[in-house]
């Protein structure tokens, strides 16, 4: 079953002489529960694509459908709620709120919704992420790997259908990297989530079901590794 459909996606930065075509008529679909890796040289437009999929940036052309819904037909507030409930974003630079502790950072999307936190799920997540005992720590009291685990926790807290990760291991050593990838795969399997990961790391890409290669804003290769 198809979860994500990307049609003729274009993104141009700047105007006139300085215009940079970051995405140039990109189209693809992603099945529900698929683990997709995106690779490509630096500056090829991977992050741009991911941000557009996550609803944080607006395309200059084309459409993104999630579960058949046109993401960018929504207004700003609807889009904010979309980000809060439907997707989980993980960045290379964790992007945690420095003044909030671990638990607060993780539960942020739920708290924003004004809902009460499912303590069961929180405990389970903390356990899985290996963050037990660090509940009250602030981000700057954690190592890079731990911070990244917090940001994964935040992305997973709302059990979103789609999890997007932009070079989640780019800042980590290989041991931490593998742990993070294992975590992502675990939740992917456990909750049947669709996972899209941007990576430079060949070995991570090879663990995916499918690998997209982007060069100069266009998809140059689309290989299915596993089915």
């Amino acid at each position: 079953m198809e979860l994500l459909r990307v049609e003729d996606l274009c993104k141009t930065y700047g105007r006139g002489e300085n215009a940079v075509k970051a995405l140039d008529h990109v189209s693809f679909t992603v099945e529900k529960g698929e683990f997709l890796a995106i690779i490509g040289p630096s500056g090829s437009g991977k992050s741009t694509l991911l941000h557009i999929l996550g609803g944080v940036d607006r395309p200059t052309g084309g459409h993104v459908y999630l579960d058949g819904q046109d993401v960018y037909a929504q207004n700003e507030d609807q889009l904010a709620i979309f980000r809060r409930r439907q997707v989980g974003l993980i960045y290379q630079f964790y992007n945690l709120i420095p003044v909030l502790n671990v638990v607060e950072n993780i539960t942020l999307p739920v708290l924003m919704d004004g809902r009460t936190v499912n303590q069961e799920r929180l405990r389970e997540l903390m356990e899985t992420l290996g963050l037990r005992g660090r509940e009250r720590h602030l981000p700057n009291q954690l190592s890079g790997g731990q911070q990244q685990r917090v940001s994964i926790g935040r992305a997973l807290m709302n059990a979103p259908a789609l999890v997007l990760a932009d070079e989640p291991t780019g800042n980590l050593d290989s041991k931490n990297s593998q742990e993070i990838v294992e975590l992502l795969k675990l939740s992917h399997r456990k909750y049947g989530q669709t996972l899209i990961v941007i990576t430079h790391d060949e070995s991570i890409a090879l663990q995916a079901d499918r690998v997209l290669t982007i060069e100069d804003g266009t998809i140059t290769r689309d290989e299915v590794i596993r089915r």
């Binding site: 941000h51 996550g54 944080v56 940036d57 700003e76 507030d77 904010a80 709620i81 979309f82 980000r83 809060r84 409930r85 974003l89 960045y91 630079f93 964790y94 992007n95 945690l96 709120i97 420095p98 003044v99 909030l100 607060e104 942020l108 999307p109 708290l111 924003m112 919704d113 004004g114 981000p139 700057n140 911070q147 935040r154």
Partner: protein, 882 residues
């Protein structure tokens, strides 16, 4: 508390310095606002208190009420307090010379009444029983009998009757009325009190109101004067109407109680405070806005992150407003309290000055804290903070998630280091160029800094200019004369009073230290040019005639004062007061305001110590006033004199008869002015009164002036009035000492308030500048770290920062100084209507503000940089999550 509020609180805590500066800004502005509202409230309360002091606190007054009416009023639910004065009746007093007011009118009172009527003692104590009595001051003044405190007075009390009807205080004295005596009582004079307001005792009233203490209960026939206050002052009118009462209302008190419309005074006061509050709001919005704006841009990343995790715009805006609320909850109460405290302390010191300035009631202005004034202050302060937060909060919502995420990426030094600004490069090197580029790039961020500097320059300079003008205006005519009280007698006064006898009486008065009696003559004087100081001689004798003509004053001084003056200067009485050949004393060195130099100058007009001049004066004729000249049928100039009483009766005198010409010899020139002269009158000649007939034989005295020095000038003024009144004349002595005192008070008050205002505005501006600069430097940590890491030295760093300081300071001054000059000009424009004085460039204020601007900027920079210097470049570069 939701998560957004939590994030906000934590961020506030984390940026302690900035939060504190923001709160200080809120405190300052709330303090200023509440100071204004509290002052306004105190002022309104003061005028009310002053009105009460002179009129009494009552709202309604029903005279001549029977017992039922009295009880009806006393018992009414709308009435707050009531007190009834029982009529004991009228009595004739011995020695009363006032035809229309032959009686005393005795009322019994209690403590409440004396308070409600603001009965003020001149001496003695309040009567404690029906056997003690208070007599009004004006009874003593118009009575041959001098009652003293402690005397006993026996009164045959009764009712005034005409045609079988009794008369009250509202029926003026009638020839045909009779007094039906009911009882004769003896009272002890407990005290003398100041005349009640004319609302209670009108000028037509036939009896002086005398007040006894509580005097038991009356009987069924007793009649009362009922004074009462209402729970709601405004109800008085309908109350009198509804109960069909024939009463009076205390309109002045009611007006200031806000019973009717807003009084003119009140609305002027409110208008003025609205303007001041507006200015303060403007100033504080610029500060507090700046604080929030910084907070928002510093938290751009935070907003972006929250947005990327799904925060809506409304939620983000809510965060900023929540921040505003937090800051308000802490800042506004403290601010309001300090504002009240500030005004309280100020009034403690200048409250009495105000009192003497506004009214002569002797009521000091005290702090009045009213609920509406606090409420207004809270609302205005809150609105100020919310406006300040609302504007930048819009920006918070515009931060897109993607910007926030990307923000943590590249930090590259600006690739294109433009070398175009050659001078900057030469003076400050690369650091200078970097600084000016930074300035160019973040002009917007620094606009607020420059704006607040600009605002404070303008406010500071214009407030100083304003103060300066006001002080000059109020200081006009201070210290020009040595006397405290002057009293002049014109023809009608002179007709009624014996001026020499009056002089003696004044001299005998206890409080009077010194007195002189002057008769003035305005002379046209012809001097030998050599006797006049060269610069004036040249000016006045341009044709080189060898003579100079000037209009100067000559005073005939009473002999005793003249003698004293001679003694003071070691001059011979025989020489100067020789009736046949008197010598004049020339008083030189007058004080003249020079409009060009803007200063008072001492002008010494005469060059010789001894001289002779010809003086011409027009004859004064008693009973007539001079009405200029006319040309008669024969073509001759005649001098017209009109009869004072019948102006149709005219004397026409030919020039020879109307004009005197006399040679006056001046025996000495002195430059220290006797107390009885005013230095602003110009060079003056003095002769003894006894020489008058020799100098101007047969001249009539139509104007005389008494100049008096006395510590207790107020008492002297009162005494003079009484004295004249006793002789059937009305005089209006001028209390120069009092007016100088109030001028000095005005100056003090203007200074206190305008400097207070300036200081607060400057504090706001300083806080503002501090806030922007520290935060901006903090935001540039990474840039600095990067510059350090590529090898910029510490001194290079300092140079860069110094250059930035120069940029802000000079830019603020560039706009601020001309603008403030303009405002100063406008202020000058508006004051010259009241008082002509030349425009002065407020150099001092401009200099001070220029210095302070640089001082504040540099000190802040130093502070901010000292915080940053500790930074390890690698840490700062690495640290993404701060």
């Amino acid at each position: 508390m939701n998560i957004f509020q939590k994030v906000t609180l934590q961020s506030l805590k984390k940026n302690k310095v900035r939060t504190i500066v923001t709160i200080v800004g809120v405190i300052l502005s709330a303090a200023m606002i509440s100071a204004v509202t509290t002052f306004t409230a105190s002022m309104s309360n003061y005028v009310l208190q002053a009105a009460i002091a002179s009129e009494g606190a009552w709202h309604g007054y029903v005279p001549d009420a029977d017992i039922e009416t009295t009880q009806e009023i006393t018992g009414a639910s709308e009435v707050a307090e009531a007190s009834a004065m029982r009529h004991l009746g009228y009595a004739l007093v011995d020695g009363n010379t006032m035809q229309t007011c032959p009686y005393v009118y005795v009322l019994s009172s209690d403590e409440e009444t004396t308070e409600m009527l603001s009965v003020r003692l001149v001496g003695g104590h309040y009567p404690t029983s029906g056997d003690e009595i208070l007599l009004p001051e004006h009874l003593l003044n118009s009575n041959d009998n001098t009652f003293k405190i402690g005397d006993t007075i026996t009164l045959a009390l009764g009712q005034r009757m005409v045609d079988g009807y009794y008369l009250t205080q509202s029926n003026p004295y009638q020839e045909e009325e009779t007094l039906e005596v009911r009882e004769t009582r003896t009272f002890t004079v407990a005290g003398i009190y100041r005349r009640l307001s004319d609302r209670v005792e009108s000028y037509e009233a036939p009896g002086y109101v005398a007040i006894t203490g509580p005097d038991g209960n009356g009987d069924a026939d007793s009649r009362y004067d009922v004074f009462f206050t209402m729970n709601r002052p405004g109800d008085i009118y309908s109350f009198l109407e509804d109960h069909a009462l024939n009463g009076k209302t205390n309109d002045r008190v009611l007006l200031y109680s806000g019973a009717t419309d807003v009084s003119g005074f009140e609305s002027a006061l409110r208008g003025l405070s609205a303007i001041v509050i507006g200015l303060i709001m403007f100033g504080s919005v610029s500060l507090i806005y700046n604080a929030f704006s910084i907070s928002v841009s510093e938290r751009t990343k935070q907003f972006g992150l929250l947005s990327s995790v799904g925060a809506t715009r409304k939620q983000l805006r809510g965060m900023v407003l929540f921040e505003a609320l937090v800051v308000s909850v802490i800042g506004i109460p403290i601010g309001i309290l300090s504002g009240i405290l500030g005004i309280g302390v100020t009034l403690l010191f200048v409250g009495d000055l105000f009192a003497s300035l506004l009214t002569g009631e002797g009521v000091p202005m005290t702090l009045c804290i009213s609920a509406p004034s606090i409420l207004v202050a809270i609302v205005v302060a809150l609105v100020t903070v919310l406006i300040s937060a609302w504007i930048p909060s819009g920006r918070a919502t515009k931060v897109t998630a993607i910007e926030a995420i990307r923000q943590s990426r590249d930090i590259r030094p600006d690739k294109k280091v433009r070398r175009s600004s050659g001078l900057t490069y030469r003076l400050f090197g690369l650091p200078g160029v970097l600084a000016s580029q930074h300035y160019r790039r973040s002009r917007k961020k620094y606009r607020a800094t420059i704006f607040s500097l600009f605002m404070s320059i303008v406010l500071f300079v214009s407030a100083s200019a304003f103060t300066d003008y006001m002080v000059t205006m109020a200081g006009q005519g201070l210290d020009v004369a040595g006397y405290d009280v002057s009293m002049s007698l014109r023809q009608d006064g002179l007709a009624l009073l014996d001026d020499q006898q009056l002089l003696q009486q004044i001299r005998d008065m206890d409080q009077v230290e010194d007195v002189a009696y002057l008769n003035e003559r305005f002379l046209s004087c012809l001097f030998d040019s050599q006797d006049v100081a060269p610069q004036y001689a040249q000016q006045l004798d341009q044709e080189g005639t060898g003579t100079v003509k000037m209009l100067l004053y000559l005073y005939f001084v009473d002999d005793e004062s003249f003698r004293e003056l001679l003694q003071q200067h070691g001059l011979s009485e025989a020489e100067y007061m020789d009736p046949q050949h008197p010598l004049a004393i020339g008083v030189d060195g007058s004080r003249v305001y020079n409009a060009e130099t803007e200063q008072y100058q001492t002008v010494e007009l005469l060059a010789s110590d001894q001289l002779e001049f010809t003086a011409e004066a027009q004859r004064d004729i008693v009973g007539y006033w001079s009405d200029g000249t006319e040309t008669n049928d024969a073509g001759e100039t005649v001098y017209m004199y009109r009869n004072r009483i019948d102006s149709e009766q005219v004397l026409e005198l030919p020039e020879e008869e109307a004009m005197y010409s006399s040679t006056i010899r001046m025996g000495t020139r002195i430059t220290d002015w006797p107390f009885f002269l005013s230095k602003s009158n110009g060079t003056t000649f003095l002769l003894p009164a006894s020489a008058r007939d020799t100098v101007f034989p047969g001249d009539g005295v139509v104007y005389g002036e008494y100049l008096i020095t006395a510590e207790d000038h107020k008492a002297v003024v009162q005494e003079l009035k009484n004295m004249a009144l006793a002789q059937g004349a009305h005089v209006s002595p001028y209390d120069l000492a009092a007016s100088e005192e109030s001028d000095r008070n005005t100056i003090t008050i203007i200074r206190v308030f305008s400097y207070g205002f300036v200081v607060l505005i400057s504090l706001i501006a300083a806080a503002n500048v501090f806030n922007t600069i520290t935060t901006n430097i903090h935001l540039r940590r990474r840039e600095f770290a990067m510059l350090k890491s590529v090898g910029m030295s510490r001194s290079g760093f300092n140079r860069m920062m110094n250059y930035e300081c120069l940029l802000y300071g000079s830019r603020a001054l560039l706009f601020g100084l001309p603008a403030s000059l303009l405002v100063a000009l406008l202020i000058h424009r508006s004051v010259i209507y009241a008082f002509d004085m030349p425009f002065r460039v407020p150099w001092k204020a401009m200099g001070i503000s220029a210095l302070s601007v640089f001082l504040v900027v540099f000190v802040t920079m130093l502070y901010a940089m000292s915080k940053i210097k500790k930074d390890d470049p690698i840490e700062a570069l690495k640290n993404e999550n701060t």
